[in-house]
Symmetry: C2
Subunit: 405 residues, 2 copies
């Protein structure tokens, strides 16, 4: 970088961290690479034809769709979402409680702008979705991290952590959580802890960002109520997305939350990108309104359940016995593997030589840790690739263990 530009950078830019996952997109796309890295849907089940069938809306409504849209979002899509999300939300959200965003990462981005000054704190799972935590970090946020078990965040630890931070003069703004089929841990927050979490937010006067891209991708068990539906204090901002239930290439997602907060986020969005692509919103609307979304969800769920099972079968078949710890996820996209005797970074390098990619654990820990863990996405690779990739991974593990002696 030229000295002149270097001298003009903001504090955020000087300390900027890239997203290891986004950085790997080029790697993943290399010919012959087997990727368990990005949280990518299986292109084999993209509803390409059904999505294309809706393209006539570009002709029929072209005058509106090609024009600037209102920042709040394409009204027909908002109306659809109000009805469609009502069972999860506990009621039909009103139009001023919904904001259509450019991916659900934009929900986190706008909330961070609305609440975080440089040096402020965000509470999150000790291990969290790095796309969002890195963006928060790049805006100047620090983190109070709360450990998790297989029932999600240890919510009872939040209160003390917040009290202590505040006693030290730190400003704590919101709790960021992924309650369903956590990325990367795979765990789901229990009902009891959901109630506790909403109560602690109210008690400590904190907002909650409920990031729920995987909630509809449940393989077994009963759906649990959203934090949004349990909250009576107007402190939960719910982020939903079409990325995992339709297609991420649309970049259409939504926020549902307290209308004053939605309003503030909308004003930020006015300047950021004016509105989410109306073309993309209209195509998504047409797809949903034609009944495809509901018709297709069971196919996604059964397809990914089979892929999860195939990955776990391959783990059992190929990975060295007793060397790998994991909990079977009941939904979502990810296995979280821990290898006490192998460093994830060493395994990553060895696997890359064998043309197998995953995401190392460390970047998922905003405050450090995770050197012996890594994330495996089971949705993207084909069954044949999964078998071949895990076999290669098992060989890599055995090599590393043998070298260690």
């Amino acid at each position: 970088m030229s000295d002149t530009i270097q001298g003009l950078l903001s504090q955020s830019a000087k300390g900027i961290k890239p997203s290891p996952i986004r950085e790997m997109f080029h790697l993943i796309r290399k010919p012959g690479m087997i990727s368990f890295a990005g949280g990518m849907p299986d292109p084999d089940i993209f509803p390409v034809e059904q999505f294309h069938q809706g393209a006539d809306i570009l002709l029929e409504e072209g005058r509106d769709i090609l024009q600037y849209g209102v920042t709040e979002g394409y009204t027909p899509l908002k109306e659809f979402l109000s009805r469609w999300t009502a069972p999860k939300m506990g009621r039909e959200p009103s139009m001023d409680e919904i904001l259509i965003t450019s991916g659900s990462s934009q929900v986190a981005d706008l909330l961070t702008r609305a609440t975080v000054d440089r040096g402020d704190y965000v509470v999150c799972e000790e291990t969290s979705f790095l796309g969002n935590t890195i963006n928060m970090y790049n805006q100047g946020a620090n983190f109070l991290t709360i450990p998790c078990d297989e029932n999600g965040m240890l919510v009872e630890k939040i209160s003390n952590a917040v009290d202590q931070a505040r006693a030290e003069g730190k400003k704590v703004k919101f709790i960021y959580t992924i309650p369903n089929f956590h990325n990367p841990l795979g765990c789901t927050l229990s009902l009891e802890r959901r109630k506790e979490l909403v109560a602690v937010a109210k008690d400590k006067e904190l907002l909650i960002l409920e990031d729920d891209p995987y909630g509809c991708v449940r393989f077994e068990g009963d759906e649990l109520p959203t934090l949004y539906s349990l909250d009576d204090a107007g402190l939960v901002l719910y982020a939903g997305s079409f990325s995992k239930i339709l297609a991420p290439g649309t970049r259409v997602a939504w926020a549902i939350g307290p209308k004053d907060l939605i309003r503030t986020m909308t004003i930020f969005k006015q300047g950021v990108d004016t509105c989410t692509s109306v073309v993309a919103q209209a195509l998504v609307y047409k797809y949903c309104q034609s009944g495809n979304l509901d018709a297709f969800l069971p196919k996604i769920v059964s397809h990914y359940r089979a892929k999860r099972d195939a990955m776990e079968a391959a783990f059992s078949k190929y990975l060295p016995k007793g060397e790998v710890q994991y909990v079977t996820p009941k939904g979502g996209f990810f296995y979280w593997l821990t290898t006490p005797n192998i460093r994830a970074e060493d395994l990553f390098q060895r696997c890359l030589e064998k043309k197998v990619a995953f995401v190392c654990g460390a970047p998922f820990f905003p405050n450090g840790g995770g050197e012996h863990s890594f994330r495996m996405c089971f949705t993207f690779a084909s069954p044949e690739e999964t078998d071949r990739g895990i076999k290669a991974m098992g060989e890599a593990m055995k090599e590393l263990l043998a070298e260690k002696g």
Copy 2:
């Protein structure tokens, strides 16, 4: 807003300013309203059929287009832009000098993130595009404003302004300018001043944001070289957009600039929205690659030239003689009217009663002023609406002048 949420807001959110133009979108859409407000293209000339014809790409390339894209942008579109922009840029920009964005407002947003800490300064025209200046303000920027005449910014004033600010300990980061058919002033920066501007940026070690959504919409006279092509110091970030030459509903735009700066902006974008809608990018690419962009530009230019002429004819016909000052724009979307004896806000209220909307001047002045000026977009309203709307405006002016006595 609840006290709890109020207490959690960031400094930016506490002082947030909405965009008057975005706020007016709902107003503009009211039945019977004649709008000269938003900088909106004429939906009558949206290439609806040609754009829709490209929709087969959703079928043919669906597996890729529906997937996450790389943050840098859809490669075929970047390759097209490299070739297509070469005459303006002076050479074909390389792939790592181009970033596809979600509207050109995102170019300004990402540059602001990359350079501006709260309290830092941006140099801009005294009267500037409020969408971008308000977003910069909402991120904590202050402004050094430079007056303009019909040849654009008085570039010779920048050096002193920057020196003085720096002597006072202020950090100045970049110069924001709209060199062609300025929004809202309509003026175009002369060749001599372009050369001076690039020289002053180099001398004072400042970046330049060259915002050029209107450059292709020239009604008469010869195209002038871009600042980007005149710069030999790698300090110009060029922002281009499909909003005015294809359709704003796509929300597809681009930045071309020094690769290290593009890289930093790309890392911010990773967290902000992962990538611009791949669906929208692919549709835009297909439209362009089929030759439509070049075929359609002359139609846009002649259509808008006629609309400009119709608006000016209506000014002559209906507005009170000697009361309104303006310069005929040689391109772009806007007239800038000054009424020394009428306050724009009074005229706005009176026109609204007559169902005519425009944008008052004051919000275009980041440091105050403009109470007797306003912006009129000539591209959106139909010829019949323009005639009727300016007639009503003339009546409103006469009423206000009569009341003043």
